[in-house]
């Protein structure tokens, strides 16, 4: 089965990549000057010993690495340095769903919007809708996401003042209304990127020989768009969805910060500021694994959709 071979190949390389991320994280953190406990104020030698034992810092580097890797493999990320009674797993379990929900909605906005705008721009190539869309795209790509976040907050406040009641919350977390604007802001950059890609891809397909064949068959431009152009133009977009999801999840830091959303990104930033080593390591490896998984998933979906991979087990460079 070519498809199974394709999927298992991707799986193996995915596991390898996660291992690499975990190892890289371990050594980067291990080279940190000083030791994680030096910040503890007035630690008596006994307490220090206890703490070292608790975090396994008294063992050799090899043993530490072994313990680290095996517990990571079991899905155990250890205990937070700053909040002594919370495990990193708890923190991730509590905050990640928030980030994931926000990210999922943002990805939805970005893909639907990107495909739509890109297709419209390509269909009206070199006419005003194309010009307007591409201008918006270049503008969106050039303005930092935090500016959009701030602006949208400003707009919400003005809107609520104008209406006299609170249509949309300015910040915070709760229902769907809380997610709407942050997700839109979060997905904006990716939407612009996908719009650009979709336009280019549609134009490339439109210039291909098989579209000429379809025209020679007497199909109208709308029929050609529906049966040939759209589908083929969307296919390559799937391949960049993995990296796009990555960009959106990590881009979530800013949006979570500005809209005060209790997601993992905000927690990560706080952890770095407080030098909470286990949380930093755990979150990095967790995010890394999550992204690898997403890319894997996207690859598999692409394999199912593209007959060339489904039937032959090989395809053009799937990762962007």
């Amino acid at each position: 089965m070519p498809l199974m071979r394709y999927i298992s190949g991707r799986l193996v390389s995915g596991v390898f990549t996660i291992w690499f991320i975990a190892t890289a994280t371990f050594f980067v953190m291990h080279w940190v000057p000083g030791d994680p406990l030096s910040d503890e104020k007035a630690v008596s030698p006994e307490i220090r010993k206890n703490l070292e034992a608790r975090y396994g810092l008294d063992k050799s580097l090899g043993t530490q690495y072994w313990i680290y890797i095996t517990s990571m493999a079991r899905g155990d990320f250890g205990i937070s340095y700053t909040q002594k009674n919370r495990s990193v797993n708890d923190i991730i379990a509590m905050h990640f769903p928030v980030s994931a929900m926000l990210g999922a909605l943002a990805v939805l906005f970005a893909t639907v919007g990107g495909i739509l705008w890109g297709a419209v721009a390509a269909r009206y190539r070199n006419r005003w809708p194309d010009g307007a869309i591409m201008f918006a795209v270049i503008l969106t790509v050039s303005v930092p996401s935090f500016v959009f976040a701030a602006l949208s907050q400003h707009l919400i406040i003005k809107l609520n003042q104008l209406l006299g009641f609170s249509l949309l919350p300015v910040a915070g977390w709760g229902g769907f209304r809380n997610m709407l604007v942050p997700a839109l802001v979060l997905g904006l950059g990716t939407m612009a990127y996908l719009t650009r890609l979709m336009r280019a891809s549609t134009l490339e397909v439109a210039g291909s020989e098989y579209i000429k064949t379809a025209r020679a068959k007497g199909l109208s431009s709308l029929q050609i768009f529906r049966h040939h152009e759209f589908r083929n133009a969307v296919l390559p977009l799937i391949t960049v969805l993995g990296p796009a999801i990555a960009a959106i999840t990590t881009g979530g830091f800013v949006v979570e910060l500005i809209f005060t959303i209790p997601g993992l990104g905000r927690y990560f930033v706080a952890a770095v500021q407080q030098l909470d080593y286990t949380v930093i390591m755990g979150t990095t490896v967790f995010y890394g694994a999550f992204l690898v998984l997403m890319v894997l998933l996207v690859d598999i979906i692409y394999g199912l959709v593209d007959p060339r991979i489904r039937l032959q087990g090989k395809g053009a460079g799937v990762r962007a």
Binding site: A206, T213, A214, R215, A216, G218, L219, Q223, N232, L311
Partner: protein, 336 residues
């Protein structure tokens, strides 16, 4: 006006906009085709043979394209038709076969779907019936295991098989005219032969006309009834196939023939090449386009474009000053 001819192309001009200005790709081409016959359009790449045919069918999708002249197909001018009117002709009454079969098929849809598409559109067939008809057409085009091919994707077939499938697709709605644009160029020699056989066989059984675009004189000799030779966007010679090969008149045609390997060649005999390169069609030369490369160039050739003169030998016409009635008079004077 009822015409005996299936297709009459009259003074077709095509200018393609590019960054540097308009490329005068086709500069006044005229020819006509009778039903059931094969006309070959010959010339080197870039001479405008594909462009003229594709422009005629509205297949050049370039903004700002300039088209002039007439192309009457069954009495109706294709150039004057709206896109919707053209769509009732393309695929239904004119079928088209392209050079590279692999890129001419949509890679993500099955062969059957792509053949059935035209049938559903022009004949109002149901999807299932159209797929069955597609299988029958593939069979007619001598493609092995037609039932399996229907559900296969283009990348699963070889070039020769795909070209058969493409012919099946072009013939699906029973067109009066089949336009084959370099149909065998991308194929290996044995496959080329099979495809040419197939086309001849289908022409006999269906009685359609074929407009064959090629640069290969061997293919011309084998397939064509009439030949039109193009150079630098113009027709330089038109003749019946026998006339052309026995009495090639235009220096370009003759140079082309010398540059083609043929049966009577002696081992080690070099092939003649045509020195120089075709003129730049951004700014075509004022005189004969072939003049700079021509061994017989005269002073008049440099600044006046020759018309199509009736050839002195054979039954065709030739765009060369040497065929001008005054030429022989001048020769006599000059020799004296």
């Amino acid at each position: 006006m009822a015409e005996r001819e299936l297709l009459v192309v009259d003074e077709l001009r095509v200018e393609i906009p590019t960054h540097g200005g308009f490329v005068r790709a086709v500069r006044g081409v005229s020819f006509s085709m009778e039903p059931g016959k094969t006309l070959a359009l010959v010339g080197e790449s870039g001479c405008g043979k594909s462009v003229s045919v594709q422009a005629m069918l509205g297949l050049i999708n370039v903004q700002g394209l300039r088209l002039a002249g007439e192309a009457r197909f069954m009495g109706q001018d294709l150039l004057a038709m709206s896109e919707a009117q053209l769509n009732t002709v393309r695929g239904a009454r004119i079928g088209m076969v392209f050079q590279d079969p692999l890129s001419a098929f949509n890679p993500t849809r099955t062969i059957g779907e792509q053949i059935a598409e035209g049938l559903v559109l022009h004949k109002g067939m149901a999807k299932q019936a159209a797929l069955e008809e597609a299988r029958r057409l593939l069979d007619e085009c001598r493609l092995s295991e037609p039932a399996r091919r229907v559900v296969q994707y283009p990348f699963e077939l070889s070039g020769g098989m795909l070209q058969r499938a493409m012919i099946a697709m072009a013939l699906a709605c029973g067109p009066q005219l089949l336009i084959a644009d370099e149909p065998t160029t991308a194929l290996d020699v044995t496959t080329q032969d099979q495809i040419l056989w197939l086309m001849q066989e289908l022409q006999r059984s269906r009685g359609m006309s074929i407009l064959l675009i090629t640069h290969d004189l061997a293919v011309v000799a084998r397939m064509a009834d009439d030949v039109a030779v193009m150079y630098a966007g113009q027709l330089v010679e038109r003749a019946g196939v026998d006339d052309l090969f026995s009495h090639p008149t235009h220096p370009y045609t003759r140079a082309l023939m010398r540059a083609t390997p043929h049966g009577e060649m002696v081992r080690g005999e070099p092939l003649a090449s045509i020195e120089g390169s075709p003129p730049d069609l951004f700014a075509p030369p004022p005189g004969c386009g072939f003049c700079p490369r021509c061994d017989h160039a005269m002073r008049i050739c440099e600044d006046r474009v020759p018309l199509l003169f009736t050839s002195r030998r054979g039954g065709g016409v030739s765009r060369c000053w040497m065929e001008h009635p005054d030429y022989s008079r001048a020769r006599v004077v000059g020799d004296a």
